[in-house]
């Protein structure tokens, strides 16, 4: 079976600095995969390449077996790839609900339908009470939730989450993890996430890819990854208990 998403020998350099170097990875349909690695490893750059926010120098990216590199983010969204931003980008002047409606309008041409769907998503993510507030007054954890809500509203097949849990307290992480697991199981949304919260990675992900200095240094099941010497040395540190 062809994987949902596949990167083949993808490279990207910024002024000679190889941010992503010869990276290959594949994400199977209906799974949750995680991309981990120390800061500056090239995780967000790889996300930008997959989501069309940046052009790659070399390699190929395939979605359901078709080339998608070179497409714009809106075209990728049409195909079913949604993303969140690590540095959140809310529509500050709009209400929380309107933010999500913008995403929901993709699948629901009628505003009333889009509003109903947006409402349901907000309720689900615990933002229901704040739906009529302008997005500009939200706290950072709420903005992170809003990013996820907006992306989910486009009804993606593949969801790329760039540190959606960062900045959330452990008690706030739990509902989000539960939410992600649910959309994965119930709606069949495949998820690729960048995450530093290892507990979330361990509970959610079925496959983990470790990036270091732009290169894949390990990949496999999470239990296997945490025992790899190279991963321990560059990222997790030795002697951690997870």
């Amino acid at each position: 079976m062809t994987p949902l998403l596949e990167a083949r020998q993808v490279s990207k350099a910024f002024r000679g600095l190889r941010a992503v170097s010869n990276v290959s990875l594949s994400v199977e349909t209906n799974t949750i995969s995680a991309l981990i690695g120390p800061n500056g490893a090239g995780k967000t750059t790889l996300f930008n390449l997959i989501s069309g926010a940046a052009a790659l120098d070399d390699g190929k990216i395939l979605f359901r077996g078709n080339r998608i590199d070179g497409l714009r983010p809106d075209q990728l969204c049409e195909l079913g790839i949604a993303r969140t931003f690590q540095i959140v980008k809310p529509f500050s002047g709009l209400t929380v609900l309107d933010n999500v409606i913008v995403g929901a309008l993709k699948g629901h041409p009628r505003l009333s339908d889009a509003r109903r769907q947006a409402d349901a998503i907000l309720e689900h993510l615990g933002l229901g009470a704040k739906r009529d507030l302008p997005a500009s007054v939200l706290t950072l954890p709420d903005r992170k939730r809003l990013e996820v809500a907006r992306a989910i509203a486009t009804q993606p097949k593949l969801l790329l989450l760039d540190e959606a849990l960062a900045g959330l307290r452990p008690i706030e992480c739990e509902p989000m993890i539960e939410f992600l697991r649910e959309i994965n199981r119930r709606d069949g949304v495949t998820i690729l996430l960048i995450e530093h919260v290892m507990r979330a990675v361990m509970t959610l992900a079925q496959a983990v890819v470790v990036l270091h200095q732009g290169e894949v240094i390990a990949s496999g099941a999470p239990e296997q990854i945490v025992r790899e010497r190279a991963v321990l040395e560059c990222y997790l540190g030795t002697g951690v208990e997870i």
Binding site: P73, D74, C77, F91, G93, D98, V102, L111, A151
Partner: protein, 323 residues
């Protein structure tokens, strides 16, 4: 839009509809200008207030629209109701060219604004030398009897012109409402707030910006047609001038950009302030040239300082009316 807003709108419509029966010609001319700026402001607001693209060259659509319809009338006796289609087509095309250049090649922010100014200036100078339609000496339409209403040729009494611009302003308001509360409004506002996020949500930025500039340009051109037949004279130095562009945008800025009532309220406030002050001073024997511009400047300064989002959002909160 909630009940209060609809009530407010209905009362406003009633007052404006009755005005010609109680007002004299002077008041009617001030009200006509107010409605003209409410109309043009509404058109500009679609591009800037909704989609976030700052044009300081909207006089170009006003001028081109005015000249196209006036030239057809002047040379071939074609009435404005036929001529306005040429005006709208030309201005939609010009808007599309500016948009294609800017949005395709990522000319954004202040550079887009400069482009709009440049095109307007280019047209002003071009029309100054376009002698077929009078060049810098101006184009004059034949002034006929003002007491006979000839709606087909847009010749008639001040009251007729008043109702024509009232209908245009009402239609512009309705169109803006319709657009804002549907997909275009949501997508434009998303683009205005954050282009990257908008694009990531599946919005084709280029296509929606193009739609905004084309609608805004063709709407503005109709204002130009009105202007030509209302004043019966056109000078490139006036109609294409940047000060005309500024006059168009003052209303929405003072009233509240991106809102539906903002352009109307702003135009009304400016008309009341500027003409009211001029009248009062004239009655007391003072004539100050340039007073209007001075008042515009002060009004802009005061509003920007105290209410950066414009008067309407604040007023709407007080009246408990939806924005």
């Amino acid at each position: 839009m909630n009940g209060r807003a609809i009530f407010l709108l209905a009362s406003l419509g009633m007052v404006l509809g009755m005005l010609p029966f109680v007002a004299n010609d002077y008041v009617l001319s001030v009200a006509t200008l107010f409605l003209f700026f409410a109309y043009a402001g509404q058109a500009w607001n679609i591009l800037m207030g909704f989609a976030g693209q700052l044009s300081l060259g909207h006089s170009v659509y006003l001028g081109l629209g005015a000249y196209a319809a006036a030239a057809l009338h002047y040379h071939f006796g074609i009435g404005p109701w036929a001529g306005l289609w040429l005006s709208m087509t030309l201005c939609a095309a010009l808007g599309a060219i500016i948009g294609a250049l800017a949005f395709r090649y990522s000319v954004s922010g202040v550079h887009f604004t400069l482009l709009t100014i440049a095109v307007a200036e280019f047209m002003r100078i071009g029309f100054d030398h376009f002698t077929w339609i009078g060049g810098s000496a101006g184009l004059f339409l034949k002034v006929s009897q003002r007491n006979q209403i000839d709606l087909l040729n847009l010749r008639g009494t001040p009251a007729m012109f008043y109702y024509v611009i009232l209908a245009l302003a009402a239609a512009a308001f309705a169109l803006s409402t319709w657009l804002l509360l549907r997909r275009p409004g949501y997508y434009w506002q998303a683009i205005r707030e954050n282009e990257d996020a908008a694009q990531a949500l599946g919005i084709n930025i280029f296509r929606w910006k193009m739609l905004a500039i084309i609608i805004s340009a063709s709407m503005t051109s109709l204002g130009g047609v009105f202007l030509a037949f209302y004043y019966n004279n056109l000078f490139p130095e006036q109609v294409f001038h940047i000060s005309r562009s500024i006059e168009i945008i003052l209303g929405p800025i003072i009233g509240g950009m991106g809102t539906l009532f903002g352009p109307v309220l702003g135009a009304a406030l400016l008309a009341l302030l500027a003409d009211g002050a001029t009248e009062v001073l004239a009655a007391t024997g003072w004539e100050i040239p340039g007073l209007k511009q001075l008042i515009y400047g002060i009004a802009l300064f005061v509003v920007m300082t105290l209410l950066p989002h414009g008067v309407w959002p604040e007023l709407a909160r007080k009246l408990k009316v939806s924005k």
